[in-house]
Symmetry: D2
Subunit: 335 residues, 4 copies
Amino acid sequence: MARYDFASDNVAGAMPEALDALVRFNGGFEGGYGGDAVSVRAAELIRGLLDADAEVRFVASGTAANALALAALAAPHEGVLCHDHAHIATDENGAPGFFGSGLALLTLPGPSGRIAPQGVVEALARPDEPHWPSPAALSLTQATEYGAVYSGQDLERLAGPARAAGLGLHLDGARLANAVAAGFDPKSLARMGFDIVVLGGTKAGASPTEALVLLNPRLARRFGARLKHGGQLISKARFLAAPWVGMLESGAWTQRAAHANAMARRLADLMPFPLTHPVEANAVFVAMDEARLEALKARGWFVYRFIDGSVRFMCSWATRVESVEALGADLAAIA
Amino acid sequence: MARYDFASDNVAGAMPEALDALVRFNGGFEGGYGGDAVSVRAAELIRGLLDADAEVRFVASGTAANALALAALAAPHEGVLCHDHAHIATDENGAPGFFGSGLALLTLPGPSGRIAPQGVVEALARPDEPHWPSPAALSLTQATEYGAVYSGQDLERLAGPARAAGLGLHLDGARLANAVAAGFDPKSLARMGFDIVVLGGTKAGASPTEALVLLNPRLARRFGARLKHGGQLISKARFLAAPWVGMLESGAWTQRAAHANAMARRLADLMPFPLTHPVEANAVFVAMDEARLEALKARGWFVYRFIDGSVRFMCSWATRVESVEALGADLAAIA
Amino acid sequence: MARYDFASDNVAGAMPEALDALVRFNGGFEGGYGGDAVSVRAAELIRGLLDADAEVRFVASGTAANALALAALAAPHEGVLCHDHAHIATDENGAPGFFGSGLALLTLPGPSGRIAPQGVVEALARPDEPHWPSPAALSLTQATEYGAVYSGQDLERLAGPARAAGLGLHLDGARLANAVAAGFDPKSLARMGFDIVVLGGTKAGASPTEALVLLNPRLARRFGARLKHGGQLISKARFLAAPWVGMLESGAWTQRAAHANAMARRLADLMPFPLTHPVEANAVFVAMDEARLEALKARGWFVYRFIDGSVRFMCSWATRVESVEALGADLAAIA
Amino acid sequence: MARYDFASDNVAGAMPEALDALVRFNGGFEGGYGGDAVSVRAAELIRGLLDADAEVRFVASGTAANALALAALAAPHEGVLCHDHAHIATDENGAPGFFGSGLALLTLPGPSGRIAPQGVVEALARPDEPHWPSPAALSLTQATEYGAVYSGQDLERLAGPARAAGLGLHLDGARLANAVAAGFDPKSLARMGFDIVVLGGTKAGASPTEALVLLNPRLARRFGARLKHGGQLISKARFLAAPWVGMLESGAWTQRAAHANAMARRLADLMPFPLTHPVEANAVFVAMDEARLEALKARGWFVYRFIDGSVRFMCSWATRVESVEALGADLAAIA
């Protein structure tokens, strides 16, 4: 049977802190749709994490969270600047266009999933034309899809010109925990003027839950109605909120991301194939030909070839060092 | 503090069978998006329940499940026949129109949430006109929003003409467990030609999960892509599937619905206010003036006045007979 | 062969002033998409008519004009207040929901297509709830679908509370020419704070063209892009603008509407059937049983039974007094 | 004042045959929405042109025609294969995504706007994945955006594999008249299994009108309702149909396209700059640096730099040989 350990950071179950909270908060009757005590507590913890007086909502899908965020920032006839290989552009099957009624993704290049600043500058310099979409928002992913981490300065170099041009700012933080564990300060997001942060729970080690954090208070009006309309207002809201209470009260959200990052670092150290991207979070990308990838799969390890052609190994809260070492040995054997 | 016990059947947590399954299936690595062993097992159990070779998908929101179902059955310029007070028409904030790109709900009257057959016949007799939407599907709710249960014969009286006219058939089964507990045969749905059944997990006593059951195999093609595009493809799919395994393997899905129905029956027996709808499932609706409703709320019981003007009391798997009796005593005191 | 003279006010061709302008402005090369000299001149004339510094765009379809207007004023999860029998609600096949990504129409009663003020007040008093759409705009039709004309005071009684509550204001002016000919002051619309007026060309006697008049300057930004995205940015824009130049420079837009109104008045005077609505513009509605309607059709006159059950007779710029008298004689014969 | 003669083929007015028909069919009363005698006659002529028993509808915008066509062939979560520089992908501001509720355009390379067959083969070989859109249709442009003309054999090389894989086939025929004038047989489209052809009227020399030709009869059901819902059902339909009667009865649709092609050929012969694409229809594309383009504009000629970097000169039915020669002289002067 194939081993999925390194296939993604969503192949593991929930970390103990998240699961225990689900059980802990299961009893009793609670009003639904986000007004319950668990949701209120989880929102408080997230406001503390980001040091911001934000409206916080929980949804079950990161794709939906991102798509709803973009639809809140750009009109149907406008566009969102993002990286060529951003998850929203390559892995969400057009969800931004669906939730955004045809809004466009305007993709920009840059190494390891980080947008090169020049692309933003050029995009902002283009005059409005009715024949194609003008940018209304900038979407950044932290950590990036290639396991790189923007520094605060990196982010500001992109966010600053966008903000100055009146664009909205969206952060896809599916792996923000890993970036934070790598040293990124989550409190800097509000200061930089991000309007919406999607704070990743699932890949960090929760059961399915993502936090839609509306840092811009103007966006909060009737957002519950928007969620309902978009099929994302969950009646038993406590089940999406409880894992956050468990993960944030304990500090496990960051600590277990640090573990995932360390496992990736350990794997990189053992890796006999050339790295194609810096290992700054919980991913290791390498150059590997098809024969060797097949050989690896023949040894039971299921991993993906990514859109840039690299082979991707993801670590998570559940990755055991023994697995890393076993994988390392197999990699060495086929290299 | 307000007691929400009777406010809805979604104010309780998850039943033990559902929660235990979440914990039981949490360990180990699993591929995501519905290909995992837990999802496969849950789908098998649902096929057994409905005696049909259906494609089964799990989503976190009943609103989304219904909206995706309707969008699969009607084009944007077509309509869906449903009851005037169907949940899809009155409580989902336009989600069918959003997922269906502007599709219309064509509402029909009938007592206690059951559509009167004459309305369907008349709607089907109207000629197509480009200026307004023609019906392409019929949506029925079982048990209804008013706690009534269609008999098999009732359903067929509505489904038959619709099917004969080429319409698709959708069942909103948010409370199908309660209907089954009341004697309705779930195996009859496939035989009657229903295309899609939304099988309710949440209100039956799960953590958030609904099963989208595609009885019509033609609809299954690329449905995973449709879910992704609609923000409803959950990576850690086991968390939506596990409660189903727990509830169906044990029989608790039906048994606990029978308990909820019995609690409603018991409450009806104690009820000093006139019933406005038959008590056939887990709801009790009564006529109560505003002063008495306020008096009831003053005693701590939070319940809703429904759109027909009745006051609604919902029972669930978690309703205790002591609570019913305490409520009954308070009702008697204010009557 | 059936005579369509009274079937609608869109069964006639274009009035001479409109057609001549099409021919007159056909020569030479012009940039497209609304920047041409003809479009610029037509926009100026409309700004003069409404005494407002508005952005003016021309589209070929009133349905699209209305739907784009509503989508500019209400978010997908919000609603638009309108009359139960407003054209947008009953005759546009869900176009507002399509352009507005599922936005809701919240319909209100009132005699002869005029909304009763109490309905607006009640709708505005309802608290926001995520489960159903809150009103974000008010849409009024002038003259109404039943040929009634709001006085300025009538309009303000509806617009005032809506404006005070922060709603956007939309006027469906498909038959504004008839209202103006009946004494309504078009310059009052900007003063009352209407955000968008759809100024009717087609029914007034143009070839297909409607003016989307954005009185609220905030809405003008990137509106050309919105039109393109919605399939409503016409390259050879002069063909939509020229009729307006012809109709407004000559005064024919109002004068020929006055003729249509007079023809309706004349028909009302001859009418042997009871009027069901006041005859204030170019429509005559009467109570007529099915046998008599069939008898009328047997004499060659094609007219519609409207959604309120009345039979509708519409007059237009092209209605000849001889036709009215011939129809009157036939009506007398069958009465 | 700038001369727009060569800026596009939509900068001219309507050809005499089209304009005369508008005037000729203006009189009398006609039922609307496409049931009128003029629409019926125009549809017959188009069926004759294409030798196919098709449903024919007229809309005012090519963008809308294309977008509605694609939405009829691909579901919201599917994609449409088209050229990297197809008009639908680069010049319609996301309209396909709007009308198609988020459908994706999957772009493919190829010289001069013609898709290289290998791209189609590769796209069809990819397995379905829920994370990104699978192709459901192939869209081809004839003549291409670069003035190239596919031979029947060229088209079949692309259409054949797509058809075999079950994809729908769409032809953007905004400039089909020019392709026909260049020798392409329009009767071959139905034989090749095209489902929808958008037959260009505007650029061919009509007032705004495009014919949506549904060659696949399955697509015709309730298409009028689809048009209404999409804001494209014009009440005074005769104004969109009349130009077609004028252009097709007289043969001018093809003959005047032949003139446009000849003017482009003549311009190419005079051209001192290197051609960047073959001159097979009514366009001339050349390599020209910015200084020379500015020099040309300084002499009054307004033309565009296209997305491939070439400078584009378009000819139309209205292009006069004297203008071509004057332009040629100016080009020679600045070269």
